[in-house]
């Protein structure tokens, strides 16, 4: 029995279907991240799980119970909002105690739980303060504390870190991971940041235009993206795509000829148009591996530990990650290799990955 299951869930606002046929089965204690560009329906899906949004079609189950029409307060769900949504007129203590008071818990139990959460989150010195006297990071912690004290069966996070600066975001990300390990509650986390998705998730759900593109573990999504969108969305900088045609076991395009790997040679047909995808980190300058490409360096971005070089191959732009030891000059033409087995092929029409299962 799945802890949480969404079967054929859809949401319609007027004439627009913002979520279409969403299917997902979540195990107890699992950390699921919904990721996608803004407007892809990930927040709407989360709000349907929370009960803040009505479900147009499909079935939402919590355990064995169908909860489509169960109000939020009876779903045993706590939610952390993007805006934190703290009650500005209440102290940190009262903010965390509010939900417990509404559930009529005895005062000593409320005290104990708030104290406990405050200790976990390092909020003990701030319990009497109002939200406006807190920094962004502290407010974020209060928002989390308010969810923790409830000891809910499900945690929902709606882009909880997107209002923090980069450094704090990194800190809070590890903190959320630590909290999840400690509390072990089933969590659904919405973000548009693929790094958050990769680092936090047990499984990632990639969405686009209300449709699930792929569901899988972070490494699986990285290694075997189901389509061009997932391939481009997961990983940073994004995967490179070159347009070409299959001929004689090679992909030929403007300015390049690249050998097909054995795993790709089977499913493709000669004369077929394909998109050749390879990740920036698959690029080598040491000549190892079989496939060689030549491009002109257009822009180089030194990041300290590595250099991102934007190269033009027959007018198509690709990016590669190079060691800073390797000297690159803008305008220079360089040859580099990519292991054909590390490449991906996509159908330019359907944008689906071309694999041997075709």
């Amino acid at each position: 029995m799945a802890e949480l299951s969404l079967q054929g869930i859809a949401k319609r606002f007027g004439d627009v279907e913002v979520v279409t046929d969403f299917n997902l089965s979540v195990e107890a204690g699992e950390f699921i991240v919904l990721v996608g560009p803004s407007g892809c329906g990930k927040s709407t899906t989360l709000r349907m799980i929370a009960g803040l949004e009505e479900i147009t079609r499909g079935e939402l189950r919590m355990g064995e119970r169908v909860v489509n029409n169960v109000p939020p307060k009876d779903r045993d769900v706590a939610m952390v909002f993007q805006s934190y949504a703290l009650y500005p007129h209440m102290s940190v203590y009262e903010n965390m105690a509010f939900g417990l008071r509404l559930r009529k818990l005895p005062q000593d139990e409320i005290d104990r739980r708030v104290q406990e959460a405050a200790e976990i989150l390092g909020l003990v010195p701030y319990l009497e303060r109002k939200p406006k006297a807190l920094s962004g990071g502290q407010r974020q912690r209060v928002a989390m504390g308010r969810a923790i004290v409830r000891k809910p069966r499900y945690f929902l996070f709606d882009e909880p870190l997107s209002n923090l600066d980069a450094k704090l975001r990194g800190q809070m990300r590890t903190e959320i991971a630590r909290l999840h390990r400690k509390l072990g509650a089933t969590s659904i986390y919405v973000t548009h940041d693929q790094i958050e998705a990769m680092t936090l998730a047990d499984r990632i759900v990639v969405m686009k235009d209300g449709v699930v593109q792929q569901i899988g573990g972070p490494i699986e999504l990285y290694r075997r993206p189901a389509n061009r969108f997932v391939a481009g969305f997961i990983g940073s900088p994004a995967m490179n795509f070159l347009e070409g045609v299959v001929e004689d076991g090679m992909v030929r395009g403007r300015g390049f000829t690249f050998p097909l790997a054995a795993i790709h040679a089977g499913p493709v047909r000669p004369g077929e148009k394909v998109l050749l995808g390879f990740r920036p980190e698959a690029v080598r300058v040491d000549g190892s591996g079989a496939g060689t490409l030549t491009g002109d360096v257009e822009v180089r971005e030194p990041l300290g530990a590595e250099v991102h070089a934007y190269l033009s191959i027959g007018g198509q732009q690709v990016v590669g990650r190079f060691s800073p030891d390797h000297e690159l000059r803008e305008g220079q033409s360089i040859a580099f290799t990519v292991d054909p087995a590390a490449c991906h092929l996509f159908d330019p029409e359907t944008e689906l990955a071309i694999r041997d299962n075709r």
Partner: protein, 280 residues
Amino acid sequence: MTHVKSHEINYTKLLSHLVLVVVTLMTLYPVIWVLKMAFTPVQGFSTSLNPFPANPSLENFSYLFNDTPFVRWGINSLVIAAATTLVGIFLSCTAAYAFSRFRFPGRKGMLLGFLVTQMFPGVMMMIPLYLLISALGLLDSLFGLILVYSTTSLPFSTWMLKGYFDTIPQDLEESAVMDGATRGMIFWKIIIPLARPAIAVVALFSFMSAWNEFILAATFMNQETMYTLPVGLKMMVGQYSTEWGHFSAASLLVSIPIVALFFYLQQHLVSGLMAGGVKG
């Protein structure tokens, strides 16, 4: 250099202070004049420019308290204004919340209707209101006036509060919903405390309009014991002579509750109440 500069600043300061002092005196002079007449036991209109009473006495005040139903009128006014404020706030808060948060058929029409009623002068409503109040048997009754006042201030209060409620983020309510709060709890525990500044303004407005209203009170109240203060004060202005001393003393007393209320409500007129609640 600094020496010269400090001189310049002093001249500018001197000038601006001079202007302020003059304007303040001009504003205060009539008030001081009322004070003077209130403490002068003469009913005539003194034309002397001297703003201080020659022989100060409390005679006018003692006349008001002992020889007129002034206290009774005060109580009437207080009851009416207080009840109007409470009823008005309750009705406008609940109505404004509904207008702000719910989408229901007729919402726009009703909001517009509220505005339209504000475009007619109040005097126009006098006859129809009189007929209504008379039919309800509420002439010469405090309740009648409370009913009329609290409903006439309703459109302004509702619009004002709706505007404020609109600025309270929806996230706060959804967060409370997740915490397990009902609509009612959200309204009383989240929305109302956050709307304190707007409610204070609406309270002051309701109280003042009920406290100062003359025409309807004069129309609906015929027994002298049911008069409100403005109607009572009018008694002192006769066709041929005006009891300026009594009138001034009464005017002073009438303004005290308004001033007190203003000072009390001032503490709620704070900005930044919503700070720190939501971000982004």
